[in-house]
C-alpha cells in the first residue's frame, strides 16, 4: 500500500486552487472577513468599556474611593446577580475567556455561541463595574472570538477556517481592549493558538489592526498609562531590575498556586454554593476595599498613581499582596472577568515597591519609580501568565519607549525562569486541566524535541549516477549495489530514481546504449534536507522506495538517503536510527 503524500512536492506543480464563485481567492476572502471581524470587535469592545464605566458610575459612584456602604454591598450583591445569570442563562461565560476561546479552536471547531458573547458582555461589565478584582481584556478577547465565530458561521466557512476564525476574533478583541495590536497578536499566537503558524498570521494581524483603528477612532490613541521618561544612567540599575525579576517570579508562583488550589476546592463544593460564591467573594473584596479601595476593579488609575510616586514602598507591597488575594477571590469564585489587568496592577505595585526600597538603600540609583512599575508589569506578565514574548512587546507598546527594553528583558526572563522552575504548568494550562480540557501550548510545543531527517538518514550504498550514464553501465553498477533503487541526478539539479529490476529489463530490450535520461520519468522525485523534520520526509516519500537527502547549498550533493523503514525506525526508538 502506498502512502499518498499529504503535501505537494514542488509548489510549481500545484494545480490552481478553485476560485470562489465571485472571483476571489480563498485566502483573500478570509482576509476580508478578518477585517470585518476586526471592525465589529473594535466596536463591541468600545461598547464594553462604556458599559463597565456606566456600571461603575451606577454602583460605586464616580469617585475613585467609593463611599460606604456601596463599596462593600455593590460587589457582594452584584456577585450574586452575576452568579444567577451565569448558572441559569450563560453557563459558558465563567472564567477569563482565554481557555474558552482556545477550547473553541481545538475542541469545538471554532464554535462559540452568540449567547456567550452577550452573556460575557453583561456579566463581566457588571462584575468589573461593581468592583470585583478582574480585568476587561480577557472578556474582550472572548467577545471578539465569539463575534468572529458568528460571522464565520454566517459565511459557512470550512471547518479548517472555522477553527482559525476564533483566534482572529480573539486578537481583534484583545487589541482593541489594550490599544496594542502587536501585543494582541503575540498573545494570541503564544497562548490561544499555542504554536507559530504563518497560515493564520495575516488574518490575525489584519483583524487586530482594524479593531485598533476602530477603537482609537472612538477612544483616542493615547496609551493606557502616562509613563515617565526613562533613561539608564548607571549600569548598576540592571541589577536592580534583576532583583525585581526575582520578586516577580516568586509573586507569580504564589498567585498561580493560590488560584490553582482554591479554584478546584470551590468548584468541589455543592452546586447551590456556586450561586453565592461570587457574592461572598465580592463581600470580602468590599471589606478589603474599605482600607484599600485600590483593589477593586481593573485598577488602571492606581497604576498611574503608582507610576507617579504617590505611594510609599510599604503601601505598594501591601497593595500587590491585597490585589493577589482579591483577584484570587473573584476569579476562583467563578465571576466572569479577566486576569490581565490585575496582573499588570500587581506587577506595577510590586515593581514600585522594589524600586522605592532600592532607592532608599541606594540613593545614587536615581531611577524614577515609574520605570520600575512599568518593568514590574511586564515581569509579572512573564512570571504569572508565562507569555515572555508578549510581555516584552507589551511594555514597549504601552510605553512607546524603546530605552526600557534591556531592563524589561532581564527582569522578564528571570521571572519566567523562576516561574518555570517552581511551577511546571502555566496558569492557563492549569485552568484548562481543571476544566477537563487538555489544550496545547507553546511551552508544550517547545518541550517536544523535533525528530529530523538527519536522525534517520543513512549514507547511500552507491554514489548517484548522472543522467548521461549509459544504461548498460548503470545496470552493471546497480548489480554491485546493496540498494534495489538507484538515484540519478540531472544537470538541472533534479533527482530521479530507477529500480535495478527496470534496468535489467531495459538491457534485455536492447536499450543498453541509451542514457538514463531517456528512460527517466517526466516528473522528478522529491528530496529533503537533513535539518527538516522527519514528518516532512514521511509526507514526501509517498511511493518512492528512497528519498535523496541533499545539501542545502548544493542540491546536487547527496548527503544521505532515507527510506520509509528508516523513518519508522527513527520514530520507534525516539529519533535515533538503528545502526
Amino acid at each position: 500500500m502506498s502512502i499518498r503524500p499529504l503535501v505537494e512536492s514542488a509548489p510549481e506543480a500545484d494545480a490552481p486552487r478553485a476560485p470562489l464563485r465571485h472571483g476571489m481567492r480563498e485566502e483573500q476572502f478570509f482576509l476580508l472577513v478578518a477585517i470585518i471581524i476586526g471592525v465589529f470587535s473594535g466596536l463591541a469592545v468600545v461598547c464594553f468599556r462604556i458599559a463597565i464605566d456606566w456600571a461603575r458610575f451606577l454602583l460605586l459612584t464616580s469617585a475613585l474611593t467609593p463611599p460606604f456602604p456601596r463599596i462593600v454591598l455593590a460587589p457582594a450583591l452584584v456577585g450574586v446577580l452575576v452568579a444567577v445569570l451565569v448558572m441559569v442563562f450563560f453557563q459558558r461565560v465563567r472564567g477569563s475567556g482565554v481557555n474558552q476561546t482556545k477550547g473553541a479552536l481545538y475542541i469545538y471547531d471554532g464554535y462559540i455561541p452568540f449567547k456567550t458573547v452577550i452573556g460575557k458582555f453583561i456579566t463581566s461589565a457588571l462584575a468589573i463595574g461593581s468592583g470585583h478584582s478582574l480585568g476587561p481584556e480577557d472578556p474582550s478577547l472572548q467577545i471578539g472570538a465569539g463575534l468572529a465565530s458568528l460571522i464565520g458561521r454566517k459565511f459557512r466557512l470550512s471547518r479548517d477556517k472555522m477553527r482559525l476564525i476564533a483566534p482572529v476574533g480573539a486578537a481583534a478583541g484583545l487589541a482593541a481592549a489594550f490599544n496594542a495590536p502587536i501585543t494582541a497578536v503575540l498573545f494570541v499566537i503564544e497562548e490561544v493558538i499555542g504554536r507559530w503558524t504563518a497560515g493564520v498570521l495575516g488574518a490575525v494581524v489584519l483583524s487586530a489592526v482594524s479593531s485598533v483603528v476602530v477603537a482609537r477612532w472612538f477612544l483616542g490613541a493615547e496609551p493606557l498609562f502616562r509613563i515617565p521618561t526613562y533613561s539608564m544612567v548607571h549600569p548598576g540599575e540592571l541589577l536592580a531590575y534583576a532583583v525585581l525579576g526575582v520578586a516577580g517570579g516568586f509573586a507569580g508562583v504564589v498567585f498561580q498556586k493560590l488560584i490553582g488550589h482554591l479554584r478546584p476546592a470551590l468548584k468541589a463544593l455543592p452546586r447551590w454554593t456556586q450561586y453565592l460564591q461570587p457574592g461572598v467573594a465580592g463581600l470580602l473584596i468590599g471589606l478589603i476595599a474599605l482600607r484599600l479601595p485600590q483593589v477593586q476593579g481593573a485598577g488602571y488609575e492606581y497604576i498611574d498613581q503608582a507610576m507617579h510616586g504617590q505611594y510609599l514602598w510599604e503601601t505598594l507591597g501591601i497593595l500587590a499582596g491585597a490585589k493577589i488575594l482579591a483577584t484570587t477571590l473573584s476569579f476562583t469564585s467563578g465571576t466572569p472577568g479577566g486576569l490581565f489587568a490585575p496582573t499588570l496592577f500587581i506587577g506595577a505595585m510590586l515593581g514600585g515597591a522594589v524600586g522605592e526600597f532600592e532607592r532608599l538603600m541606594f540613593p545614587h540609583l536615581a531611577v524614577p519609580i515609574g520605570a520600575y512599575a512599568l518593568v514590574g508589569m511586564g515581569t509579572l506578565f512573564a512570571g504569572f501568565l508565562r507569555a515572555p514574548m508578549t510581555s516584552v512587546f507589551m511594555i514597549l507598546e504601552v510605553s512607546g519607549d524603546y530605552s526600557i527594553i534591556i531592563p524589561v528583558i532581564i527582569s522578564n526572563t528571570i521571572a519566567y525562569l523562576i516561574s518555570r522552575a517552581l511551577q511546571q504548568k502555566p496558569i492557563f494550562e492549569v485552568l484548562s486541566d481543571q476544566d477537563g480540557m487538555h489544550l496545547p501550548s507553546l511551552e508544550e510545543e517547545r518541550e517536544v524535541s523535533v525528530v529530523r531527517v538527519e536522525d534517520a538518514m543513512r549514507p547511500p550504498s552507491m554514489a548517484p549516477l548522472h543522467e548521461d550514464t549509459p544504461l548498460s553501465v548503470a545496470a552493471k553498477l546497480a548489480e554491485d549495489s546493496y540498494e534495489d533503487f538507484i538515484l540519478v541526478s540531472s544537470t538541472a539539479r533534479n533527482w530521479y530514481g530507477i529500480s535495478r529490476e527496470r534496468l535489467r529489463t531495459f538491457l534485455k530490450e536492447g536499450k543498453g546504449d541509451l542514457s538514463l535520461s531517456a528512460v527517466m520519468p517526466l516528473r522528478p522525485m522529491p528530496y529533503v534536507h537533513p535539518d527538516q523534520s522527519l514528518d516532512l520526509a514521511l509526507r514526501e516519500i509517498g511511493d518512492h522506495p528512497l528519498l535523496p537527502v541533499v545539501h542545502r547549498a548544493d542540491l546536487k550533493q547527496l548527503v544521505g538517503v532515507i527510506s520509509l523503514a528508516d523513518i519508522m525506525t527513527a520514530y520507534h526508538v525516539g529519533g535515533r536510527p538503528l545502526t
Binding site: 478570509f30 468600545v46 461598547c47 464616580s62 466557512l157 507610576m307 510616586g309 504617590q310
Partner: protein
C-alpha cells in the same frame, strides 16, 4: 472553503439560476449569498458604528461633566484649606479627563501645597514630556527643583522657562522669570551668574519705576552697586516720591563710596521716612565719613590738618586695641605688621598735632597714610570697626592712592 449555495427544493449544490438536478428555480439571493452577506455585514457595521458614535459622545459628555464637577469640588476644598481632600477631588477629575492641563496643573499646585513635591514633580515631568518648551511648566519645575535642593535641575529649568513659550504676555513672563532666577542665584551666592541675568533683564525692561526699583535691589544684592544706582536713579526719576527708590539709591551710592551723593539721597529718604532705622544708620555713617575724611575735597587747611591729626591719634588707639586683642600682651609680642605700624606711629606721635601738620605737609601726608594703613590692617586682623574707626576705614577706602 465555503459551502456552495444549495437548491431550496432538493438541497443539492447549485450555482446557476436553475438547479441542474431538480430543475427548480434558484432565487438570486441564494446564488449570491456571499456578496449579499458581505453587504449586509457592511451595512450592520455602519449602523453599529453610528450607534457607537452616539453612545461614545453621550458618555464623553457625561465624563467631562463629572470631571468638571470634581474639579469644582477640588477648588472649594483648596479654598477651604483642605488640600488632601482637594487632591482626591482633582484625581477624580483626572480619571475622566487626564489630558486637561488645568486639572493637572491644579493638582500639581495642590500637591506642592500639601508638601508632596516628588509627586508634583512626577506629574510635571509628564507635562514636560508633552510640552518641553512650555515656559510655565519649566518654571514650576524649576521651583520644585529648587525646593528639593537640586541646583542643577533648577538652573536648567529656569533657563528653559526664560527661553520657553508663554501663552500670554511672553515678554513680561520672561522678564519675571529672569528676575526670579536672579534671586535664586543670589540666594545661592552665584553672584556672577545673577549679574548676567540681571543685565539681560535690564535690557528687556521697560521704563517702569517698580521694575527698576526691583532691579536695583537685586543688583545691590548681587554686589553690583553701579548698576543698582543706575536703576534706583531711574526709578527715583520716574517716581520721585518713592522713598524706597531714594533710599536704595543712597545705599548704592554708599556702596560705591560716593558719600556726597549718598548723603543727599539718604537725607531725602529720611525726610520721606523719618522712622526708617536703616536709612538713619546709613546716613549717620555717611556723615561720619564725610566729617572724618582728611582728604575730603574743598577742605580749608586748618580743618584738613585737624582731621588728619584726629585720624592719626584715632588710628594709634585702634592699633593698640587690636594688638592687645590679638596677643593679650604688651606691644613687644604684637604681630609684625601691626608692630611695625605702631613703631612708625610712635616715632612721630608727639609731633602730630593740628598746628604741626598745618605747617608740615609731608608730616600730614605721612600721618594720613599711616592712619589709613592702620585701619586697613586692623580691619583684616580684628574685624570691621565701628563708630569713628569705621568712618575712617571707609574714608581710607575712598583714597586707595594714599596707601603706602
Amino acid at each position: 472553503m465555503t459551502d456552495a449555495p444549495k437548491c431550496p427544493a432538493c438541497g443539492n449544490p447549485v450555482s446557476q439560476a436553475k438547479c441542474p438536478v431538480c430543475g427548480g428555480a434558484t432565487p438570486w439571493w441564494v446564488r449570491r449569498r456571499e456578496p449579499l452577506l458581505l453587504a449586509v455585514l457592511v451595512a450592520m457595521a455602519a449602523a453599529f458604528f453610528a450607534a457607537t458614535t452616539f453612545l461614545v459622545r453621550f458618555h464623553r459628555q457625561r465624563e467631562l461633566a463629572l470631571a468638571e464637577g470634581w474639579f469644582d469640588q477640588g477648588e472649594r476644598d483648596v479654598a477651604a484649606g483642605r488640600p488632601d481632600a482637594a487632591i482626591a477631588d482633582l484625581r477624580n477629575a483626572l480619571q475622566f479627563d487626564h489630558e486637561d492641563r488645568r486639572y493637572r496643573l491644579r493638582l500639581v499646585e495642590t500637591l506642592v501645597a500639601a508638601h508632596h513635591p516628588n509627586q508634583a514633580t512626577s506629574y510635571l515631568l509628564n507635562l514636560w514630556d508633552e510640552q518641553p518648551a512650555d515656559g510655565d511648566i519649566n518654571l514650576r519645575l524649576a521651583r520644585l527643583s529648587a525646593q528639593r535642593g537640586d541646583m542643577t535641575a533648577a538652573k536648567r529649568y529656569y533657563r528653559y522657562a526664560i527661553d520657553g513659550v508663554w501663552d500670554n504676555d511672553p515678554v513680561a513672563h520672561r522678564l519675571q522669570t529672569r528676575l526670579e532666577f536672579a534671586e535664586f542665584l543670589i540666594g545661592h551666592e552665584a553672584f556672577g551668574d545673577a549679574q548676567a541675568e540681571l543685565l539681560a533683564a535690564e535690557e528687556e525692561s521697560p521704563n517702569d519705576a517698580a521694575l527698576r526699583k526691583r532691579l536695583g535691589e537685586l543688583f545691590l544684592q548681587a554686589g553690583d552697586a553701579g548698576n543698582a544706582l543706575a536703576n534706583f536713579s531711574t526709578a527715583e526719576r520716574l517716581h520721585p516720591d518713592d522713598a524706597d527708590a531714594v533710599a536704595g539709591a543712597g545705599e548704592a551710592a554708599f556702596d560705591l563710596g560716593e558719600y556726597e551723593s549718598a548723603k543727599t539721597y539718604l537725607e531725602r529718604a529720611r525726610r520721606m521716612e523719618p522712622n526708617n532705622a536703616k536709612v538713619s544708620d546709613l546716613l549717620q555713617i555717611t556723615s561720619e565719613v564725610l566729617e572724618a575724611d582728611p582728604l575730603q575735597r574743598g577742605l580749608a587747611g586748618g580743618e584738613r590738618s585737624r582731621r588728619a591729626a584726629d585720624a592719626f591719634h584715632l588710628a594709634l588707639a585702634r592699633v593698640e586695641q587690636c594688638t592687645a586683642k590679638l596677643t593679650g600682651e604688651p606691644v613687644a609680642a604684637a604681630p609684625a605688621d601691626l608692630g611695625q605700624l605702631k613703631s612708625q606711629m610712635d616715632a612721630i606721635a608727639k609731633r602730630v598735632t593740628a598746628p604741626a601738620l598745618y605747617r608740615d605737609a609731608d608730616l600730614m601726608a605721612q600721618a594720613i597714610r599711616l592712619a589709613f594703613r592702620v585701619e586697613e590692617v586692623t580691619a583684616k586682623r580684628c574685624g570691621r570697626a565701628s563708630g569713628p574707626d569705621r568712618a575712617l576705614q571707609l574714608a581710607a577706602q575712598r583714597h586707595p592712592e594714599s596707601a603706602p
